[in-house]
Symmetry: C2
Subunit: 207 residues, 2 copies
DNA sequence: TATAATTAACTAAGTGTTTAGTTAGTATAA
DNA sequence: TTATACTAACTAAACACTTAGTTAATTATA
């Protein structure tokens, strides 16, 4: 077997783990089941990862890395966009991100919901996303010749509650809303975007 | 050894279970630990509950029952309140609810985040809360002589994303924001209320 | 009113099963 | 022939749940 097979095998293990973690949670997941779904022997998992926990950490690291890349790319693509267009661009990045990463976000939220999760991945995600929002706002203030109040920590909380958590809940409950109420993905996103924009405009611009 | 009050003992078991579930999740929780924390023999837990799962179901049933009571009481207390006051009343009920029930809400969110959770307790909570919001809105439309568009399901989704999930995240991440950013509970709630009101006004009244 | 019968509340010490992780080895490509 | 990729078979520990009782209090009976 050559090296390319190994990379692909490792990816298959991670993918199977992601599926199973998102279905039954980390503690509920069985390494045997991950191995079975990945089509490998269980011992091979311990050849690539030192523990079940390291599989989760690898998945979380990739998630953080991916969202960081996504945000950076978006900012480089539209460096001067602010206001309405800025929100739209940010919204598109978020929605693409949570749609793509829905499964692992479920796991992150479930793990963060545990009380002892001090090094919470959701907080880490939140900080990344908040910084992106601040960047959009900063441009907006700048364009108006105003100084952005950098140190206002309450703003971060506002951003978190009004900005990040609806996206997380979108990732968590999208399927259920679609099934239970027959809502299309497009309809969901349209209404969601209106709420997102209004909440942000209300929070930052109208007073 | 003296016999203790059975009702009180059962309550102690449930309380210990709630603590441990919220710390390490349902699958991560050990029945031995619950017994130890409740100060009873493990077998007594199986005397009162047929399984570990039944403990969780009992806790979830109580949560649903409690929120239902809370909402009904609030509506009976302020039957004609609408508009700004209506939102304030609803907000107060919500915030009191999530503050009191924070621990079990963590568990509910963690469990709901698992993909197979079809009979999701969060969806059940969501429907209860959504109905309460609709009631406030209905009064508002009525007072203005307008007919409330009952069948708009998109409204439910809006309510869910903009109304319920920030409360859930408040329950989940309040401690972390307080610790990490030194925010007081009052400051959090004040800003949170502004966001809540604006999001709702924006969603329902400004178009 | 004393005591025997009954039951609710509780426990020590398991049982069998499931689990994460290991060992000791084989096959293959370079 | 050496390093990488892989597996069947295994183990120790952890786990949910059970068994086989005990204790304390209540109720029925003499």
């Amino acid at each position: 077997m050559n090296k390319r097979d190994a990379v692909e095998t490792k990816a298959r293990i991670l993918s199977a783990a992601e599926d199973i973690f998102s279905e039954v949670g980390f503690d509920g997941a069985r390494v045997d089941d991950i191995a079975k779904d990945a089509g490998v022997n269980k011992a091979l998992i311990y050849y690539y990862f030192k523990s079940k926990n390291e599989i989760l950490e690898t998945l979380f690291s990739s998630l953080i890395e991916d969202v960081r890349k996504m945000l950076i790319e978006s900012m480089e693509r539209t460096p001067d966009v602010c206001g309405d267009d800025g929100y739209r661009a940010l919204f598109d990045v978020y929605i693409r991100f949570v749609s793509q990463k829905r499964k692992i976000i479920r796991v992150a939220v479930a793990e963060s919901a545990k009380m002892d999760a001090t090094s919470s991945i959701v907080m880490e995600l939140g900080n990344l996303i908040i910084n992106a929002e601040i960047e959009v706002l900063r441009k907006e203030y700048e364009k108006k010749g105003l100084h952005f109040p950098k140190d206002k920590q309450e703003l971060l909380v506002m951003e978190f509650f009004t900005g990040l958590t609806p996206f997380l809940s979108y990732a968590l409950y999208k399927d259920q809303w679609e099934n239970q109420y027959g809502l299309s993905e497009k309809a969901l996103q349209d209404y969601f975007y209106q709420a997102f924009k209004k909440a942000h405009l209300a929070a930052h611009l109208s007073e």
